[in-house]
C-alpha cells in the first residue's frame, strides 16, 4: 500500500530530479537502488526533458497536480477521516493537503528509494522521558513512519539520562563514532569549534545541496536574515544544523500576578514602576500573603538568568549589549547599589519569599499552589496559569518588566533565538553516507516533517483544518490516552510526537496545551517585543578563547552569587557592592568582557 503510493508520486517528481541533476551537472547517486518504477519514471521524464530541461520540472509537477489537489480536497477540513484516508496520509510523501506555512519546503526528491537499506547510527540524548517509553527509539511511531517514508533505517544510541557527558566522552574515546550526533555541544569541552578542530565533525557548508528543505527555510522564512547569521559560525562554517524556530515565543519568564491578589488588594491596574510594585507588594502582605513575591534565585537576580527589577536600574545578571552596542558585564553596572538597596529593603519588609535562597522548586510550587502563599510569581505564565488554575480556579495576570519612572521603556536581558542553541546536530567524520544522513535530517524541515515531528501521525493524533493546518481534535490520543492521563500529561510531550527533534518547530503550533492557550504566547511576545532587548546573540568563541576564560567566568559567578545574595538578605551592607566590583575586577572581568567583545564583533560582521 505504502510502496505503491510512494512510487505513484515518484513517477511525477523523478522528472524534476533528473532535470535538476542535469542542470547541476551531477550524475545522481541513486543508481544502485533504482526500482522498476523509478526507471520507468526516468524514461518518461527523459523524453520530456528532451524539449527543455528547465520546463521539465514544471511540466512534471503540473502533471501530478491533479492527483494532489484531490488528496487535499479529501483531507482538509475532514473531521472524521476513513481508515483508508488515514493510511493514505500517513504513507504518502504528497503534502498537498498541507497549507503553506513559514516558507517550509516540499522537496522529497531524495526519498526515491536510493537510501533503501541504509542504516544510520544516531547518538541522541533522550528528552521528556522519551527513552523511558521507547527504550529503542527507532520504535517510536514517528521515527517508524519517517523510516518508512524516507527508506532510511535508524539505529539510536541513547545515553543514560543524567550521564550523557560521561557516555558521550567514553563513546568517542573508544574511537567508534556514530553517523550523527545530536545535542552534544555542552558535553564536548570547547563545544562545536573544538569538535571540528579535533576532527569529530564535518563542515556541512560543502554539502548544502543535500539539505534542500533546510536551506529553503533559511532563505524563505520571515526571519531569514537573523537565521542565516545565527546558523553559521564566524568562519561561515556550518558545523551543525539546529532546530529552527518558526516563531519565537519571547522571553519565557516574567511577572505573573494572581488575579485574586488584585481583587483582594483593590488594585485595578498592574504596577509599572518600582515604587508602585513596592506599594502593591506591601498591600499584598497586609492582605495576608505570606510571601508576596516568589522567584527562583541563586545569584541575586530574579529569576536565575533573567534580570527582572534589576533591568529597571540598568543592571543585568550577565553579559549584555549596552547602548553603544558594546558588550558589558551586567552585575557591576552603576545601578547596582540602587537595585540592592531596593531588594534588601523588600526582603527586610517581608515582601520577598524569606526562604528564596534555599527554596527549591518544590518549595516554590507549594507557595504557588497554596491560597495564602504568593501573590506575584516570576515564572513562565503558562506554568503559573496551570498551577493556580488547578488549585483555586483563578487566572493570572501578566505584568510587564518594571521600570524606574513611569513611561520608561522596559528592558529584558534576552535575545530571541531563531536558531535554537543547544539543539546542535552534526555529522561525524566517520559517517559512511553523508548524503543519506543529511537527507534524513533535512526531512524535519519539510512540510511533511514539520507536521509529523510536531504533531505525530494523522488520524489518531491530529487532523487537518480547512486551511491545511494540522491541529489536535479533542479526542486526540494526546489528550485521551490512559497512560498519558495517568502520568499527569508527562508522556503527551513525547509519546506520539517528537517536537524536540531536529527540524522546524514552534510551540504554539504543536504543543497540546500551547495550541489551546495561544494567549500565553502573546503575553511572552508582548514582554519581548515592547522591550529594549539587551541579550547577547549566540556568538561563538574559539577553543582557545573559551579555555582562557573558564576560570574567570567561574570565579566571577561565585563572587556574584555570594556578594549579591548576602547583601539582599542583609548579611552584608549595600556598601559592600563596591568591594564586590573590585573583587570582580581583580578576577579579570575585563579580560572576560574583551573575549566576548571580540566574538561579538565577529558575529556582527558575519
Amino acid at each position: 500500500m505504502m510502496k505503491k503510493q510512494r512510487k505513484q508520486w515518484l513517477a511525477g517528481t523523478a522528472a524534476a530530479i533528473l532535470a535538476a541533476s542535469l542542470l547541476g551537472g551531477c550524475g545522481g547517486s541513486g543508481g544502485n537502488s533504482t526500482t522498476a518504477a523509478t526507471t520507468a519514471a526516468t524514461t518518461a521524464a527523459a523524453t520530456t526533458a528532451a524539449a527543455t530541461t528547465a520546463a521539465a520540472g514544471t511540466a512534471a509537477s503540473e502533471e501530478t497536480q491533479a492527483a494532489e489537489s484531490d488528496l487535499a480536497a479529501r483531507i482538509r477540513g475532514n473531521t472524521n477521516p476513513s481508515a483508508e484516508e488515514i493510511a493514505l496520509v500517513n504513507t504518502t510523501l504528497d503534502d498537498s493537503y498541507l497549507g503553506d506555512f513559514y516558507g517550509l519546503g516540499s522537496d522529497y526528491s531524495a526519498y526515491d528509494g536510493r537510501f533503501d537499506g541504509v542504516t544510520l547510527d544516531i547518538w541522541m540524548p533522550s528528552l521528556y522521558g522519551t527513552a523511558d517509553i521507547y527504550p529503542d527509539l527507532s520504535q517510536h511511531p514517528v521515527f517508524k513512519q519517517v523510516s518508512e517514508l524516507t527508506g532510511i533505517k535508524l539505529n539510536f544510541i541513547t545515553p543514560t539520562v543524567g550521564e550523557e557527558a560521561t557516555e558521550f566522552n567514553l563513546m568517542i574515546s573508544g574511537g567508534e563514532l556514530p553517523d550523527i550526533i545530536m545535542r552534544y555541544n555542552t558535553y564536548y569541552t570547547g563545544g562545536l569549534p573544538a569538535a571540528y578542530e579535533d576532527g569529530l565533525i564535518i563542515d556541512l557548508a560543502e554539502y548544502e545541496q543535500y539539505l534542500p528543505n533546510y536551506m529553503k527555510f533559511l532563505n524563505d522564512s520571515a526571519n531569514s536574515e537573523a537565521m542565516k547569521v545565527e546558523s553559521v559560525n564566524d568562519e561561515h562554517q556550518r558545523l551543525a544544523i539546529s532546530v529552527l524556530n518558526t516563531g519565537v515565543a519571547g522571553v519565557p519568564y516574567g511577572l505573573c500576578i494572581r488575579e485574586e491578589a488584585m481583587e483582594r488588594t483593590g488594585w485595578t491596574e498592574v504596577p509599572e514602576t518600582i515604587d508602585e510594585w513596592h506599594d502593591f507588594l506591601t498591600d499584598c502582605k497586609n492582605a495576608g500573603y505570606s510571601a508576596p513575591l516568589t522567584f527562583a534565585c541563586s545569584d541575586g537576580f530574579i529569576s536565575n538568568g533573567f534580570s527582572c527589577f534589576a533591568s529597571a536600574y540598568g543592571v543585568y545578571s550577565g553579559l549584555f549589549v549596552d547602548d553603544n552596542n558594546k558588550i558589558a558585564y551586567g552585575p557591576i553596572q552603576e545601578g547596582l547599589e540602587g537595585y540592592l538597596e531596593t531588594m534588601s529593603q523588600w526582603y527586610k519588609e517581608g515582601l520577598i519569599d524569606q526562604d528564596f535562597a534555599t527554596g527549591d522548586s518544590t518549595h516554590r510550587t507549594s507557595l504557588i499552589t497554596s491560597a495564602d502563599g504568593s501573590a506575584v510569581i516570576h515564572n513562565s505564565p503558562s506554568t503559573i496559569a496551570k498551577a493556580v488554575k488547578g488549585e483555586i480556579g483563578k487566572d493570572v495576570i501578566a505584568a510587564p518588566y518594571p521600570v524606574l519612572n513611569k513611561g520608561d521603556q522596559t528592558a529584558v536581558d534576552y535575545y530571541p533565538n531563531w536558531v535554537s542553541t543547544g539543539t546542535y546536530t552534526s555529522i561525524t567524520t566517520q559517517c559512511d553516507n553523508i548524503e543519506a544522513a543529511l537527507a534524513f535530517l533535512d526531512f524535519g524541515y519539510s512540510k511533511k516533517g514539520w507536521e509529523l515531528y510536531g504533531l505525530g501521525s494523522y488520524g489518531d493524533i491530529h487532523l487537518i483544518d480547512e486551511n491545511g493546518k494540522p491541529y489536535y481534535p479533542d479526542d486526540s490520543l494526546v489528550y485521551t490516552d490512559e497512560e498519558i492521563v495517568q502520568n499527569g500529561g508527562n508522556y503527551s510531550l513525547s509519546k506520539y510526537r517528537l517536537h524536540w527533534f531536529t527540524g522546524a518547530y514552534w510551540e504554539v503550533d504543536s504543543s497540546p496545551t500551547g495550541t489551546k492557550n495561544p494567549q500565553l504566547y502573546e503575553i511572552l511576545g508582548d514582554w519581548t517585543w515592547d522591550s529594549k532587548r539587551v541579550g547577547l546573540p549566540p556568538v561563538s568563541l574559539t577553543p582557545e578563547e573559551s579555555a582562557s576564560i573558564v576560570d574567570i567566568s567561574n570565579n566571577i559567578k561565585t563572587a556574584k552569587s555570594e556578594y549579591l545574595m548576602k547583601i539582599i538578605m542583609g548579611q552584608l551592607p549595600v556598601s559592600a557592592a563596591e568591594e564586590y566590583r573590585q573583587t570582580v575586577k581583580e578576577m579579570g572581568v575585563d579580560q572576560y568582557v574583551a573575549v566576548y567583545q571580540a566574538a561579538y564583533d565577529r558575529f556582527l560582521t558575519r
Binding site: L127, D132, T362, T365, L493, T513
Partner: protein, 302 residues
C-alpha cells in the same frame, strides 16, 4: 549458657540502674531520629501527588492514599528484569568478592612474610592513585569486559578497604590457636579453614554485608559497560525513572506541560526509593545474628 553467666553477674546497683536508664533513653531517642526519614518516605510514597507537592513541612501520615506512584514504577516488566539481573550479579559478584578478599586478607595477615610490606604498598597505592575513567574504560573494552556478565563481576572483585578490614579481623585471631594447629600438623590451608575462618565469622559477616550492599546499589559499571537493556540491573532502571522524571526541567520549551509532571515526579521518586531499598534492608537481621558476643570463641574452646 555463657550469656546467662554474664547476666547473672550484672548486679542491680544504683549506678547500674542509672546507666541503664540513660542508655535506653539515648538509644531510644536515636532510634526515633533514624526512623523518621524511613517513615517520611513511606508516607510520601502513598500520598496523593497533588497534595504532596503543595505540602510544606514534615509528614506524619500519608496525605490521602494512592498506589499510582507504584503503578508507574512497575508499569513495565523492566523492574522485574532488573530484580532478576541484580540478584544474579549480587550472588555471583559477592561470591567472587569473598573468595578473593579472603585470599588476599589471609596472605596479608600472616606474620613473617618478607614481601608483605611491599604487597601492602602495592595495594594501598591504588586507593589514592588511579588512571581515571577513560583509560579504565578502554581497558575494559580490550579485555572484552563489555556487554557480558563478567563486566558486572570482575572489575569490582576486590574492595581494598574491605580486604584490609578483613585482614585486621584475621590478625585478631589468637596466635596460640594457630600455633596449636601447626603443632597438630595442620597445613596453612587447614589453619585458614579450621581456625581463622570460623573465628572470624563476625567480621566475615560484615564484609559480606558491605559487598552485598555495594553490588545492590551499583549502577555505574552497568551504565558504562552494558548496552543491552535485558542485562541492566535494577538500579539502572530505577535511576532512569528517577532522573528522566526530573531532567525534563532542563528544556525550556513547553513549560506548560511540565508543571503537571512535577507532582508525579515527586511521588515516583519516593516509590522508587522504597522499591529499591526494601529488599536490601531485609538482609540485616540475617547478618545480625553473627554479632552475638562470644559465641564463637566459646564454642571453639568448649
Amino acid at each position: 549458657m555463657r550469656g546467662q553467666n554474664i547476666r547473672r553477674v550484672g548486679r542491680w546497683t544504683p549506678s547500674n540502674i542509672i546507666f541503664c536508664i540513660i542508655n535506653y533513653a539515648v538509644l531510644g531517642f536515636l532510634t526515633l531520629l533514624c526512623l523518621y526519614p524511613i517513615l517520611y518516605i513511606i508516607f510520601a510514597s502513598f500520598s496523593d501527588p497533588e497534595r504532596l507537592i503543595a505540602h510544606e513541612g514534615l509528614l506524619f501520615k500519608s496525605l490521602g492514599f494512592t498506589l499510582r506512584g507504584y503503578a508507574i514504577t512497575f508499569k513495565d516488566s523492566s523492574i522485574l528484569i532488573g530484580y532478576r539481573n541484580t540478584l544474579i550479579y549480587v550472588v555471583l559478584g559477592t561470591a567472587l568478592n569473598m573468595i578473593m578478599t579472603i585470599m588476599g586478607a589471609f596472605t596479608l595477615s600472616r606474620s613473617g612474610l618478607m614481601f608483605k610490606k611491599v604487597l601492602m604498598m602495592v595495594i594501598i597505592v591504588t586507593m589514592f592513585f588511579g588512571g581515571g575513567l577513560i583509560p579504565w574504560y578502554l581497558l575494559m573494552r580490550q579485555l572484552k569486559l563489555y556487554n557480558n556478565i563478567w563486566a558486572m563481576i570482575l572489575p569490582g572483585a576486590i574492595g581494598t578497604w574491605d580486604m584490609i578490614i578483613l585482614r585486621t579481623g584475621f590478625q585478631s585471631v589468637p596466635r596460640d590457636l594457630e600455633e596449636a594447629a601447626i603443632i597438630d600438623g595442620g597445613s596453612q590451608f587447614t589453619i585458614l579453614k579450621e581456625v581463622i575462618l570460623p573465628l572470624s565469622k563476625p567480621v566475615l559477616a560484615v564484609i559480606l554485608l558491605y559487598y552485598l550492599v555495594g553490588h545492590w546499589n551499583s549502577w555505574f559499571n552497568a551504565m558504562v559497560l552494558l548496552d543491552k537493556r535485558e542485562m541492566y540491573p535494577l538500579q539502572l532502571f530505577l535511576r532512569e525513572i528517577l532522573v528522566s522524571n526530573s531532567s525534563s526541567q532542563t528544556a525550556v520549551v513547553e513549560s506548560a506541560e511540565l508543571s503537571e509532571v512535577e507532582a508525579y515526579r515527586e511521588l515516583v521518586k519516593y516509590c522508587v526509593i522504597v522499591v529499591a531499598t526494601a529488599p536490601i534492608l531485609c538482609i540485616y537481621p540475617f547478618i545480625q545474628k553473627y554479632f552475638v558476643r562470644g559465641v564463637f570463641v566459646g564454642s571453639l574452646k568448649g
